[in-house]
Amino acid sequence: MQTESARMTSAAEARFRVQAPNSTPRAMLVIALDAAGRRVVERLAGGGWRHATFLTAAAPDALRDLEGATRSVRDEIAAADLVVFVAGPGGHAHAVSAIGLACSDRRVTTTALIVGATTADPPEVSRTLAQLRPWSLMVVVAEHDDYIGDMMTALRA
């Protein structure tokens, strides 16, 4: 007689898996921290995302939407489930500390993506890394900017 594990791992049994949705949408905040990040974020914003908001860092504790309107860091973070930082090499991601602190206070998960790293000098990447690391649960250094879109899709943005 088959064991339960043998029977339940068969392809036939896969037909009986519950088909109801197993999650509710998560709100993703994608924040450009510098000019390189802004270029990527502006391009991404046209992708028809249902659960993502795209912003850029402005003053030390302010954000702007892509139309230029000011948004409050605290309000935006309060509404987010995941914050994605986007920055290029060179160490221009100073704004991450104020936003990261707000995320930390609210226990909001953070991921950082460094774009354009493969063509940059390692010390330039290092400067940005040093800024992002204290505030990021996950850091990704991707060769191609299109990774961010794939990541957002994978995370159901």
Partner: protein
């Protein structure tokens, strides 16, 4: 999450599929050398990439891998007689050499030349480091033989095993780059397994169950760094290598051997999980070899006479709920390999990735899929050779290392992430 068509693209590897064609760009492990231990030994059935094949070693020690079935009436050549430089079908005596060419059809006059019109599809089979490797793509496109360090060190320094895993290759492989599960599923093994215990790095692991991850693209695949706090404000890094399509090398621990895996599709619902242990600068000790053969570390014990793990789905993986309650194992399943395999098989033969809910720490998995899909598109659209084919991409090492806080691990560990003969691995 992957869309269904993306999931199909990555998981289906039979002849004619895109991923199957890309897998056929690589040299892949087919058998352990010990499965064909001597000239004229019994042939061995092999299924790879959804093709039924037969492997044999002829009277001159040459290896062959070809269509399992005789071209005459479709009989399995597993029953064949391996004699006088060929494999002879037990039914009517048709005989094949290691290249699949038919060299004798006893019922036809030799002068008719009929045998020359018969040939079975065959693939090269070469021995490197105790493993027999095959290239199942176009012969003209075959790259140089593999150069993984575990097969280039002296034989006394390396050990390889394989086990049947009863699920699709991708969900098995993704387990190998899912670093965040180690602190949960395997937490009971770091201090007890003879192939892991005693390393200083284990204390970093056990004292910090919430590492921070960094994923960086490498020439052949990915570096996946797990970062934990160390003394003096420094970081303890464990850097895993993933090389396309399905090779992983896990960061070493202390003076123990370095280890990792290959996941090779048998068909779309099962794969071979290859596991290797080696040390770049010393021989493996008798105690280490005994532990590996006894199924410790990343190896398993087998159902006698097979490569099927002794703990398998037909015995509910010998789950021990008392051990689970007592905390000796987290899942109730014993041994690192079967702790992984049992959960991966529980997903079903091919997991439905449209229903998963990945999180930030899954970026290693997300990036691996991204790279596979990107390489697949370039390979399919314009014939670009995928990463990992070039032997230079194979000369890699994982590393465990303590670095200053502002150093990118790819810089701080640059030298130790490359295989260098006679140089010890970076390990803590």
């Amino acid at each position: 999450m992957l869309r269904k068509e993306q999931n199909d693209l990555l998981t289906l590897t039979g002849p004619g599929t895109a991923m199957g064609r890309m897998f056929r760009s690589y040299w892949i492990p087919a058998l352990l050398s010990g499965e064909l231990p001597e000239n004229d030994c019994p042939p061995v059935r092999v299924k790879l990439l959804s093709e039924r094949l037969i492997a044999f070693r002829d009277s001159d020690g040459r290896y062959g891998l070809m269509d399992e079935f005789c071209a005459h009436r479709g009989v399995s050549l597993w029953f064949g007689r391996n004699e006088a430089c060929g494999l002879r079908c037990a039914y009517h005596g048709w005989k094949y050499d290691v290249t699949g060419r038919c060299v004798e059809v006893p019922s036809e006059p030799e002068a008719s030349g009929f045998a020359k019109k018969i040939a079975l599809r065959s693939y090269p089979l070469v021995e490197r480091g105790g493993v027999l490797w095959t290239h199942m793509g176009e012969a003209a496109a075959a790259p140089p033989p593999p150069e993984w360090e575990f097969i280039t060190v002296p034989r006394a320094q390396t050990f390889a095993s394989k086990r049947l895993q009863e699920c699709n290759w991708l969900q098995a492989m993704e387990g190998g780059i899912d670093s965040s599960h180690v602190s949960w599923l395997h937490r009971g093994d770091l201090d007890s397994d003879p192939l892991f215990k005693g390393a200083r790095g284990n204390q970093y692991n056990l004292s910090d169950a919430r590492p921070v991850f960094e994923v960086v693209e490498s020439p052949g695949g990915l570096y996946i760094g797990a970062r934990r706090n160390a003394e003096g404000g420094q970081y303890y890094w464990r850097i895993t290598q993933w090389v396309m399509p399905s090779f992983t090398m896990i960061a070493p621990r202390g003076g123990h051997a370095v280890h990792g895996h290959f996941w090779i599709p048998i068909d779309d619902e099962s794969c071979w999980a290859w596991s290797y242990d080696y040390h770049p600068v010393r021989e493996l000790t008798p105690a280490e070899l005994t532990a590996m053969r006894d199924g410790k570390g990343i190896h398993v014990r087998y159902v006698p006479g097979t490569f099927r793990p002794l703990a398998n789905k037909d015995n509910d993986y010998l789950i021990d709920r008392a051990a689970q309650r007592a905390g000796r194992t987290f899942s109730g399943v014993e041994g690192i390999a079967m702790q992984d395999a049992s959960l991966q098989e529980s997903m079903g033969p091919v997991v439905d990735r449209t229903k998963e809910n990945l999180v930030s720490t899954d970026n290693g998995i997300i990036m691996a899929r991204h790279r596979l899909l990107r390489a697949l598109k370039a390979f399919t659209d314009t014939g670009v050779v995928p990463p990992g084919v070039d032997p230079a991409h194979q000369k890699v090492r994982s590393a465990a290392i303590v670095l200053p806080p502002d150093v990118p691990f790819t810089e701080g560990a640059r030298d130790v992430l490359v295989a260098r003969p006679s140089v010890a691995p970076a390990s803590v």
